[in-house]
Symmetry: C2
Subunit: 414 residues, 2 copies
């Protein structure tokens, strides 16, 4: 607890200095961090070997060990990230709006850093670098709390980051990591409103929900994508099939992959067999409603399938009688991430866009586009499923706030 | 609890319908609510009399009874508010940004309602109307939880609002009020993430802190304004005095009033006596640091004075040796609301603006301007002292979020 408070105080203090550093200073620090990671490569790999060995001894499963393990290529990727983020446009200082009131006051809304940010994440050492450099680029300090399985790796990485910072003009205390692996510290960290202005949880949905429910600090919530595609009766069926295939199979483990397909009944007889044929060849398991089962031979879908984010080669399929029925289904089951209609009917497209409330609403495109890179944001903090502050793909702007700067001529209020 | 859940479900359902209503429909509903308040005026005044009597019997102090009591004039003000808000520009539907990606996708960031909002407030019946109409104007439904002392008034007002809604095309369930006055319900309400997307506490700092610390729903936090003015050595002393007087005495009970005055030592001998003379004539009590006491006869300031929002005719005064010392004092004690420098030195103005992190940073103007009306926002939800989502004076936009609408030509992700 004492370590936690002391480090929270450190990053808070650093955040005040960071308010007024220039883009050049921040970019130089990022490049110094990249160089330090290179110099400390051996030490980082050695520390990581200890983590991997301990994880293997504990019987942790291979997929998690794969996320934990580092090699020269992965450290090179981290260094590349430092260079890439240094090359991104700095959002801080942007004048979002500016106007003059009738009494001559010039009011400007100026983008500024959020301050000190806390990040709670699981055992992926690359997040240690990524979170740190995105925070620094936007003028924020950061208090890291990583998964205990990556303890040695994280300590070695943060040591390198701090060495890089010490060769820059930014405070070394801009990045701190909680060393204690006591799980109670997470709960305590979520109450440090005096020092931290934002908490970002990165990892499983369970971790995110824990943070959202227990934090008294505002949270940047990323989460579940239970995404739908509705194929309307006017859609071009060949092109619709391309999109469904893309949205399901291109990367099924991502939050923007489609999970439920809704098909208008008047095209079900034509569309479902060609869809089943194409997707089953790609190994997709289809689970259909009773109507769907009349057209193709599939496993029956249960109620819970409609609310499940499979993150796998599984697709729930339902035949609907109308656009209204499709909208009602989505309104009931949507997690508010990405929803699509495939249609050539102007009024149906308009109605869908107006009635579906999700971070990204698509007409005639794959849900897979919901991504900071695809949206042209450069960096991506994550995909927000909350409604406040930032929604959908979050670029660097999501790590900023604004202040009003008011320039007067000795104005008083009448 | 059952009532709470049922009403939360009602407003959530209404919020889905409200997503797609037009500005004309919303404005008509606001005017219908105004008309219904007029028709139900007698019933509202009668209910209010019961509340006032019960409050008197309980020995509640006069200033609170004044906030609770209604009369014809105050009901007229409510009706006027309905007309005024109907006349405001509707932020919903605004295209915040729109661009075309190289693959032809048109991406638009469109302003939409937040959804279902919960508001927790103390015994001011006018808040019942004000919160309801601001929510409706921005396409949000609202679940009200008012102070128990205003119970009868609130029930009568909500009955009128719902009668107005029933004559409009908006769902009657857009506005619901929790009838149970069990205090435990507030705690339960703060956990209803499934239904409510935002909680707005209105009232004492104690209520707001309770909500912030216990809510798992995002909170729009308004709060303490411990505002400073620094009089630099280059300031015009006569004009500086006008501003200090205005910021302290025009309305001392507001969060944007100045609480601590910082004076550069090289002008202290000239400025402090004229300041003390002018302000003491207006009944202001001055509490000065040891340096201040060398120039004027005042009560000594204690450490706690530097951190107090007096909301009263009290001003703490400190002499500083430099701009840096002034900035350090403000960084230490500021509540992040409104901070001002009075100076004619370009570099000092620039340094102050860059280093002071507050919702509103002033050069040569009174802190009293931090206000939605003064900023030209029309309506005002409150003045946010949090850093996320909305900061400083919050206009109608603060009750909206955005979604991305993506129009394609059967695009798939490569």
């Amino acid at each position: 607890m004492e370590e936690l408070i002391q480090k929270a105080r450190s990053v808070k203090k650093a955040s005040i200095k960071l308010q007024s550093v220039s883009t050049v200073q921040k970019n130089e620090a990022l490049l110094q961090i990249g160089a330090a990671l290179k110099r400390k490569e051996d030490a980082i790999l050695k520390a990581n070997k200890m983590d991997v060995k301990e994880a293997r001894d504990k019987g942790i499963r291979d997929s998690l060990i794969d996320r934990l393990a580092l090699n020269q290529k992965r450290i090179d990727d981290m260094i590349q990230s430092c260079h890439r983020v240094a090359g991104l446009k700095d959002p801080v200082g942007e004048v979002i709006a500016s106007w003059v009131q009738s009494d001559g006051l010039r009011i400007s809304k100026v983008r500024v850093p959020i301050g000190a940010i806390g990040i709670i994440y699981e055992s992926r050492p690359n997040v240690t670098v990524e979170a740190s450099i995105l925070a620094l680029k936007t003028g924020n300090s950061i208090l890291l709390r990583g998964g205990s399985d990556a303890f040695h790796s994280n300590m070695a990485i943060v040591k390198a980051i701090k060495e890089g910072l010490s060769r820059s003009s930014l405070p070394v205390e801009s990045i701190e990591i909680v060393e204690s692996t006591d799980r109670k510290l997470v709960e305590q960290m979520l109450k440090l409103r005096e020092y931290l202005s934002l908490i970002v949880p990165r990892g499983s949905n369970r971790l995110i929900q824990y943070v959202v429910e227990n934090s008294s600090i505002p949270v940047l919530e990323t989460g579940v994508g239970n995404c739908h595609i509705f194929v309307d009766d006017s859609a071009d069926l060949e092109k619709a099939l391309e999109i469904v295939d893309n949205a399901k199979t291109q990367r099924p483990g991502t939050c923007n992959a489609v999970e439920t397909l809704l098909v208008h009944q008047s095209i079900a007889a034509a569309f479902l067999p060609m869809m089943a044929d194409r997707l089953s060849k790609k190994g997709v398991e289809i689970r259909g409603c009773s109507q769907t089962q009349k057209f193709i031979k599939v496993k029956p879908a249960t109620d819970s399938d409609w609310e499940t984010e499979f993150l796998d080669l599984i697709l729930a399929v339902r035949v609907v009688n109308s656009l209204d029925e499709a909208i009602a289904h989505i309104q009931k089951y949507s997690s508010g991430h990405s929803e699509a209609i495939l249609t050539e009917n102007y009024f149906n497209a308009k109605k869908f866009v107006e009635n579906i409330d999700a971070a990204a609403v698509y007409v005639n495109a794959s849900t897979r586009f919901t991504d900071g890179g695809q949206f042209g944001f450069g960096g991506e903090i994550g995909i927000s499923t909350q409604r406040l502050h930032a929604r959908g793909p979050v670029g660097l702007e999501g790590l900023t706030t604004y202040k009003y700067v008011i320039l007067g001529d000795y104005n008083v209020r009448r």
